[in-house]
Symmetry: C4
């Protein structure tokens, strides 16, 4: 079996498309944002990616029909805008460093074949405490992108994030740069303790301004309220010696 | 050395065969069931599978003769039925995600070369407590299979198993679906603390109805009694603060 | 770089050679025995094996000259006997299951090119307590070997070792069997807490009878006395609550 | 994606170049020394090495521009000396044994294509206590190098380091030797608790004598003072039960 198995259901004819990536990660901010975008823009699925770099696992729908864990590509036609949109979402990132590189490189080569020249990767920036009004931090492959992003409210702050960016959101920029593609990473602040729809909304707020689309945040805000309620309960239950719940107990519920 | 080394002792001429998989897993339910089937149906071994994805280990028989750990394929001719049967059993599953994908994909390609169009994978569904009358839960690649399975007593229950199916029993469905093969996973409820012949009997009960074969459960029931006796002793010994024995202490005795 | 890099300094012309393997393992019994054999028989090194499957490490001699960790092949011409001898020794076994399979398979292919038809692999059988008079347990690829070995004092005992044989000493038998080579594994009983020259002497005692060679055990017995003295001191120091020293603290000093 | 991706910005025309390696390791001694050398000799970057064997990570500069983690090659033209200089520096070593071998072998093949015949690898020798005047220990591929190095003040001490040399500094010697290249490893003594500019100065002191270059140690000494101050504070804070800070808390700040 090849390391990566891509099933292209349709090869869309897209106008200067931009690629948006939102896979599981810190606070699941990127995944929540990209999944919400797919829903809001009624994006059309056109490719599935299976890989040895993912866990050997199938998921079940409510009826009991399985599907193999995967990444997926959607497109959105934007007749009034300069760029159509491709969105990369999925259940997992690659499990190993080798797998991460392999998957990101494969995605970049495929994106180039669709004429993608710019990418936005979405992620969370874990700060270790609850955040009421999350900022959106940025990183970019090229200087001119920084100016452009600052105008949209993205914050470029020296030393944040101090340890760089790990995973697909970083690699698509790093490997993309070696291939001459330009890209921006948008990171929503998040505690990192919970999946964080607030961080996702902050990221989408910036991204929708960049793309010129309108997004309704109703569903995200409902999720945020549920998470807040859960967090409050946990806090009460453990007072006075509150310690934040361990991340592995919460998992990704994107 | 290739990743997978298959030694085909015979290429059987089979009539529209179905493939049954039962490898080690939760409660060893799938392995117990498939091994019992091999014995009861006097299945004939026709291929051995060795692999770098298995542990570097040989096992010894009572005389001191070694054999390398492996998976094995057996067949059963069913002159009166519509389908002959192939059964996949073995000592181990692949040790890594990569190995799991590699082995399952290899098996699917081989099964296709034998004209297999339908598969039944057998496993356990760990529920974390002792079960007197285990249910058999199902998952399937296609909707029409669900109806067919419900008629045989298989339960499709929303949200069970919540985390999907991990390992060969899941992958054969997930990868098989991408290759156009249809398959069902049958999961016998089990505590997960012990190897569980009761879970295996429940699975076999359904499977034998599907295949139209008759199975004697004597040997499985003897094993179940031994396990029950062992569990009772452990429970007494540890009263009042009973904690279930750790799974790694029990191992797979399939 | 290839996974395995073999540097053949000489291609010896050998008469129906047998291969003896003694690499690090439980109590370092196999390594001690094979290294002692190399010394006693004044065996000649003819090939070095380097591999990605070994640690990325060089060792230093007393002067400060490095050598990359490796496995090595030696030969002994036996003018009066039916078989010349090849001995495989080394610093490490493969670090991963994949590496173990790769290295053993490579060795078997090379051995076949030298016309090896029989192998003896040497190892330790850890019993978890100090042993005054270690037995030598056996395992074999073929039934006729068992009779032959019993005559030399090798013990074939049902259920020992219960978990089979892990690593090169097992794989050379298991993979060799698929290639039609016959082989015996000789395991000296050992506590497993210390490197164990007594276990090595027991194994060599049997092996020298099989090969028709004479071995002086002086150096091994000196080592055994040192280990015994060390063990006694450790025991005194920790009385009354003696717990055996951890194996990782002792390392392999073969 | 290939395992290693090398981007050669320029193929320099060098006179009998020697290769110097200084990558992260014990006390970051080698990395500190090599990075300082690059700065002091105004070395010119001519190649970047990206690899699946590194973490899937990008780093950010102060403005927010990313770069993929990498190794880098610099050169220095030495018009008055017999040898030009190539310096290998970087963010990481390979994460796995396989990766270590792959990267070192690739580097050796590339160095040979640039006609490199001698290498100096730089590292730290962890001794587990604070060292006021670190010695520089040596290891070499060939005996004549040992005499040469002793004249420059390098110490060859039987049994130091007892466990050999692990990582790129060892492999370049070990694999290089199999390719007929000569090489020396220079190890500066270091506690191993902190990044250690003092160890790096000791190494550079020897290396600059070998290469016939002059190095200003101002910046390194400033760093050393900062580390000393930090160490004193930590010690006071934890008196009387001083335990050295864990290495993972300090990281590599090279």
């Amino acid at each position: 079996m090849d390391s990566i198995l891509m099933i292209e259901k349709e090869r869309p004819d897209l106008k200067d498309p931009v690629l948006i990536e939102g896979l599981p990660g810190v606070g699941n901010v990127g995944k929540l944002a990209a999944d919400h975008m797919v829903e809001q823009l009624k994006a059309v699925k056109f490719a599935e990616i299976y890989s040895k770099h993912f866990p050997p696992q199938v998921l079940l729908d409510d009826a009991g029909i399985i599907r193999l864990v995967s990444n997926e590509l959607y497109y959105v036609k934007m007749p009034e805008a300069a760029h159509d949109i491709i969105i990369l979402v999925g259940d997992y990132q690659g499990l190993t460093p080798d797998g991460q590189y392999d998957l990101s490189y494969h995605m970049l080569e495929y994106a180039r074949s669709l004429n993608v020249k710019r990418m936005y990767t979405l992620g969370g920036y874990g700060v270790g405490k609850m955040i009421e009004h999350p900022r959106v931090l940025g990183a970019a492959t090229d200087e001119h992108l920084i100016e452009e992003m600052k105008e949209k409210g993205v914050i470029f702050s020296k030393g944040e994030p101090g340890s760089g960016i790990v995973g697909a959101s970083g690699l698509l920029l790093g490997l993309g740069k070696t291939l001459g593609m330009e890209a921006v990473c948008l990171m929503g602040e998040t505690s990192g303790y919970f999946v964080d729809p607030k961080g996702a909304e902050a990221v989408l707020n910036v991204l929708s301004a960049i793309l010129g689309v309108t997004v309704d945040y109703g569903a995200l805000r409902d999720k945020a309220e549920q998470i807040d309620a859960l967090a409050s309960k946990l806090k009460e239950a453990e007072e006075p010696a509150f310690s934040p719940p361990k991340r592995e107990d919460l998992g990704y519920i994107g």
